[in-house]
């Protein structure tokens, strides 16, 4: 494992140890965040799957009824009546936070009055088609909420996982190696100094001995 390029000094040893402690603390925190994100995703994904399933079913049903309306009235007349829609659907997006991750809260306001056309030349099945499509619109808000939440949380999980991996496999081993290296180097230096001191001491003692005799 490559170590960081720090000179083997005592102050760098202190610095490396501090960095190592910080990396270990960060790793613990991020690992915990990763676990919580995972749990949150599992929770939301279940709800997202439910609502996605409901939406798919509702879409299928709405398309089938629309086909029936086309058959009962003709595509041309259905298109003519589609022009009498009451108003556009209002969509409001308010941000909220899940585990520090900003996710949107989508609210869809369908028109209050859904009576768009006179009944004189329309088929009942057109009402049913309108009813079914209104149900689809009602489901789109919650679906957008859940899908976006899952998507954003997954991105955050990926980012957190990358950080956890980086800390575990790169930073922490590198700082451990650095600390080990600096410690070893400093120990070696200490031993050299001790040896040198002993040599100096024995030399001094040898020089002092004849002069005293």
């Amino acid at each position: 494992m490559p170590r960081t390029k720090l000179a083997a000094t005592r102050s760098n040893l202190i610095l490396a140890k501090q960095q190592l402690a910080l990396a270990r603390q960060g790793y613990k925190l991020l690992d915990r965040k990763r676990e919580v994100l995972m749990l949150e995703i599992m929770r939301v994904i279940g709800q997202a799957e439910d609502i996605q399933g409901q939406t798919n079913e509702q879409f299928k049903q709405a398309y089938a009824i629309l086909q029936q309306a086309r058959a009962a009235m003709g595509t041309e007349r259905v298109m003519r009546f589609a022009l009498s829609r009451v108003s556009d659907v209002d969509t409001h997006v308010t941000p909220r936070s899940v585990m520090g991750v900003p996710v949107p809260e989508v609210t869809i306001y369908a028109p209050q009055s859904r009576l768009p056309y006179g009944f004189g030349d329309t088929s009942v099945v057109l009402d049913r088609a309108q009813h079914e499509w209104a149900e689809v619109v009602d489901l789109l808000g919650p679906l957008a909420n859940y899908v976006t939440t899952v998507w954003r949380l997954t991105l955050e999980l990926k980012r957190t996982q990358r950080r956890v991996n980086a800390l575990r496999s790169v930073f922490i081993p590198a700082y451990e190696e650095t600390v080990r290296y600096i410690e070893a180097t400093l120990e070696e230096k200490d031993r050299e100094d001790l040896f040198r001191l002993k040599r100096v001491k024995s030399k001094t003692a040898t020089i002092a001995a004849p002069s005293s005799s």
């Binding site: 009962a72 009576l115 004189g120 009402d127």
Partner: protein, 355 residues
């Protein structure tokens, strides 16, 4: 009791009706149309019938919408043809019937103006009426707002219901109050035109058109309740107060939650075949099939009018109902073939049933 005078009055029209009737598709043609594999095959068969003009040079890539528009135009033309061979109050009745198509176009103009479509785009939405209309369509299509469009209709018989409903339109910003006001006015006009007839004509018109208005009123009341959740008072406001078999009490009963099948059985007994909805419990699912059951009942009434003594108004009304429902069924058939529906599904959605 049919008088000799009535026989004479309907002798010439009857000959024409017999000729017109021969244009209706035979049972064999219907059978082949339903079972044939694809849209191209169905179009080939129809091009050998009286509908060749409406189909034009239709190919697999052509748009069905154009054909459907032409078919609706043909339904309007059928009424004009009958009008041309009648006179007096009977002619007036057919005139009112024909105004249904004019009304459909007027509603399209309202929608186009509300959506700020160009006059050309609005023109494409209109049913071809072969110039038999007194409304200034070009000026109507060039209007910029609904209120100016309403004022442009000053002097026509549409103005009163529109003016009365215009405040409701301003409040809701929805065309519904205007369209329902026009519909109510239209069906009241039909009822008035029927009531001006006398003797057997009156009885026959009541049987055919009166039943139609009853059916529509009952369906409207249920539609308001089932799909739009309106209150009893609103439903009474948006339906016809008195038709031949319905009144506000019946409408109120529907609004308060009556079962559609109970109401229909009470009004027409076993004459309406409700087997198509016998397994259904939810009104939301039941209503489209109930509509088909009622349309089939109306078709049966029209067939009855056409059988037996031929020199009568009922024969003309019967022919028009059959031709209108045949056009409806052709649209269903062509759309069904276009969507690759199996023959059983197409048959389920047709008003036509093999006798």
């Amino acid at each position: 009791m049919v008088t000799g005078l009535e026989s004479v009055r309907y002798a010439a029209p009857n000959a024409r009706i017999r000729a017109f009737r021969s244009r209706l598709l035979s049972t064999d043609v219907w059978r082949t149309l339903i079972t044939i594999d694809n849209l191209a095959g169905a179009v080939d068969i129809l091009q050998q019938t009286d509908y060749r003009r409406e189909l034009g040079s239709f190919t697999q890539d052509s748009s069905l919408e154009i054909v459907e528009n032409r078919l609706t135009g043909r339904a309007a033309r059928n009424v004009r043809e009958i009008m041309a061979i009648t006179s007096g109050t009977v002619r007036n009745l057919f005139m009112v019937w024909w105004q249904h198509y004019e009304l459909e176009n007027l509603k399209s103009v309202f929608r186009g103006v509300q959506q700020h479509l160009s006059p050309d785009a609005i023109r494409r939405l209109l049913v071809p009426l072969d110039g038999h209309t007194t409304l200034p369509w070009d000026s109507l299509m060039h209007e910029q707002s609904i209120s100016s469009l309403i004022e442009r209709l000053d002097g026509t018989h549409y103005i009163n219901p529109l003016r009365n409903a215009s405040a409701a339109y301003q409040r809701a910003q929805s065309l519904f109050p205007l369209e329902i006001a026009l519909d109510i006015r239209y069906y009241r006009d039909v009822a008035t035109a029927v009531s001006k007839l006398k003797g057997e004509d009156l009885k026959e018109a009541r049987r055919v058109l009166g039943t139609r208005i009853d059916i529509l009123n009952i369906l409207w009341a249920f539609r308001h309740r089932v799909y739009y959740g309106l209150s009893a008072e609103e439903i009474v406001n948006y339906t016809l107060w008195h038709t031949f078999r319905t009144d506000t009490n019946l409408v109120r009963e529907i609004a308060l939650g009556a079962d559609p099948r109970d109401i229909i059985r009470r009004e027409w007994g076993d004459a309406v075949d409700l087997s198509i909805v016998s397994d259904m419990t939810e009104p939301i699912q039941m209503m489209p099939w109930l509509e088909i059951a009622l349309e089939r009942f109306w078709r049966k009434l029209a067939l009855n009018e056409m059988s037996g003594y031929p020199f009568k108004l009922g024969a003309m009304l019967g022919y028009l109902v059959l031709s209108e429902l045949e056009i409806h069924d052709l649209v269903t058939l062509l759309e069904g073939k276009g969507m690759n529906w199996p023959p059983e599904r197409i048959q389920q959605n047709l008003i036509w049933v093999e006798e």
